[in-house]
């Protein structure tokens, strides 16, 4: 069963990161024991370790997962849009991201200013790919990457928000 797409439109994930698509794969993202839902707010400290990303789909199909931050370094002035956090390629359907090949190592969210969106996009691959890591994490473009690897439109998108945790001022 596919997820709703509306929150992605309102949250401007569709538009700023990906184009309008019809979800065909169910993807759940869990940091620790808790599944995240679109638009929820997480503490950066809760996202230090890579999340467990489980996907539906058939065993023979392969999928690519990309995690980016379209609000870097600041949501009002996103000069680094998008900042790349993670790429995992060749994930077999019905498994989780740990069964794929990590192309770009996971980097935990560390938003310097403002509330950032962190978007996990899942693409279905046509064949097994040998994706090359981009030279830089900053100014990554999910659409361009998808076009370069013939990934087409996304099959699932999940996003969450994170904000810099206030420093411990009280002592």
């Amino acid at each position: 069963m596919a997820r709703f797409v509306d929150p992605l439109v309102v949250g401007r994930v569709i538009g700023e990161v990906v184009d309008l698509f019809v979800p065909s794969i169910n993807m759940t993202v869990a940091y620790g024991p808790k599944d995240i839902s679109n638009g929820c707010l997480l503490k950066p400290s809760a996202t230090a370790a890579p999340p467990l990303v489980r996907i539906s789909g058939r065993r023979n199909d392969l999928y690519t997962l990309i995690m980016t931050d379209p609000d870097a370094p600041s949501p009002s002035d996103p000069t680094m849009r998008e900042y790349l956090h993670w790429i995992v390629a060749n994930i077999p359907g019905g498994t989780d991201a740990s069964k794929g090949e990590e192309v770009v190592e996971y980097m935990s969210p560390r938003p310097p200013v403002g509330i950032h969106r962190y978007v996990l996009v899942l693409f279905e691959q046509k064949t097994r790919v040998r994706a090359e890591a981009p030279a830089e994490r900053a100014n990554f473009n999910t659409r361009a990457f998808a076009a370069a690897h013939e990934l087409g439109l996304p099959t699932a998108v999940v996003y969450f928000n994170a904000q810099k945790e206030p420093a411990n001022r009280r002592r």
Binding site: M1, F4, D6, V10, S37, G39, I115, N161
Partner: protein
């Protein structure tokens, strides 16, 4: 605030548009009705205004007219220039200082006493000898006869040469602008509201604080040559500069190609900078608020969808459970109602015993 803003723009908008003329060609009565929305804010009619206040209200109205006329890209001065009136802002109005503190009524009484006199500045049409009331006089005539003259750029340059006295009143001006900008923004939630900010300072700042501000300016120790009143030039600089800034892209730093800026080079630039920074922050703040709303809405939608999904799932599971219960019950009933079935089976088994 919201209401006032709308009012001010409301009546001023359609009037000039349909008339296609300048504010200066309106009579006092018409002008007053044009400002009808502002009337409540003014709290007084023109008779009791002093000349300074009158000029300011004219500029306010003119500016809103310019806003209505100008397309987003046109600068305020350009738009005003198209009106083709004799007294235009780009050749700024100056007010002899003795005049600026007089009320309109006083000036009018002077007129009547003098009888039909020729205009003091060029370009005035011949005055008809009978002018029964102030209300039927056009603004232009009134201003010309009152001795408000139009500066040409050379005079403006001369005024610029007169040094340093503007510095004193400026901070006051800046403060009043700041406050009113904030109000203007407050009332204007959408982007169109940014336009309102341009003339908000003149309207609100002056009505609210003008009384305190102007005597101070007038009483300033400016026993200077030329008596070109400082406060008008400052007010003009502020309003024009801002109107322009708002019309063009607010994010880009806009150089203000106005003589007013030249006139008040030093502190004028400071005011501009402060105002611009404030505006940029305001715009950022507005964007951020919009993002925050969208974020909240998106999350709410997600949760609602989730609730819906879970409800459906729950209903499905409950239905399934009921069916199962039903089936179990049926089985039990069958057993109860037909106890022989089991017995028979048992008997049959025993019947297949060895003997």
């Amino acid at each position: 605030m919201d209401l006032k803003d709308g009012e001010r723009r409301g009546p001023a908008g359609p009037g000039p548009l349909s008339r296609q003329g300048s504010i200066y060609s309106l009579t006092f009565d018409e002008f007053q009705s044009t400002l009808g929305g502002m009337g409540g804010g003014l709290g007084k009619d023109f008779g009791s205004m002093n000349m300074d206040e009158l000029l300011r209200s004219i500029w306010t109205a003119e500016e809103s007219q310019a806003m209505a006329l100008a397309s987003a890209s046109a600068s305020a001065a350009g738009a005003a220039g198209e009106d083709g009136a004799a007294l235009q802002r780009q050749g700024s109005l100056t007010l002899p200082r003795t005049l600026s503190v007089k009320t309109v009524d006083e000036v009018w009484r002077d007129f009547v006493r003098e009888g039909p006199s020729p205009g003091t500045a060029g370009g005035a049409e011949p005055q008809p000898s009978r002018q029964p009331t102030l209300g039927e006089m056009t603004l232009e005539e009134f201003l010309v006869r009152a001795g408000v003259v139009r500066d040409n750029p050379a005079a403006a340059a001369m005024a610029a040469a007169v040094p340093a006295q503007p510095v004193a009143p400026r901070p006051i001006q800046a403060v009043s602008n700041g406050a009113s900008i904030f109000f203007g923004n407050f009332g204007a939630a959408n982007d169109a509201g940014a336009g309102a900010m341009g003339f908000a300072p003149v309207g609100i700042g002056d009505q609210g604080m003008g009384n305190g501000l102007m005597p101070g300016v007038a009483g300033m120790p400016s026993a200077a040559v030329n008596v070109s009143p400082v406060d008008t030039s400052v007010a003009q600089l502020d309003s024009v500069g801002k109107g322009n800034g708002d019309l063009s892209s607010p994010m880009a730093p806009v150089p203000y190609p106005f003589e007013g800026v030249i006139r008040g080079r030093r502190s004028g630039a400071g005011v501009e900078k402060v105002v611009e920074r404030r505006q940029r922050r305001m715009i950022k703040n507005r964007e951020s608020a919009a993002r925050s709303r969208a974020r909240k809405q998106a999350y709410t939608m997600e949760l609602e969808a989730e609730v819906q999904k879970l409800k459906e799932l729950n209903a499905e599971l409950q239905k399934k459970q009921e069916e199962m219960m039903e089936m179990q019950k049926n089985q039990v009933l069958e057993v109860v109602s037909n106890p022989y079935a089991q017995k028979k089976r048992c008997l049959r088994r025993t019947l297949t015993g060895p003997w």
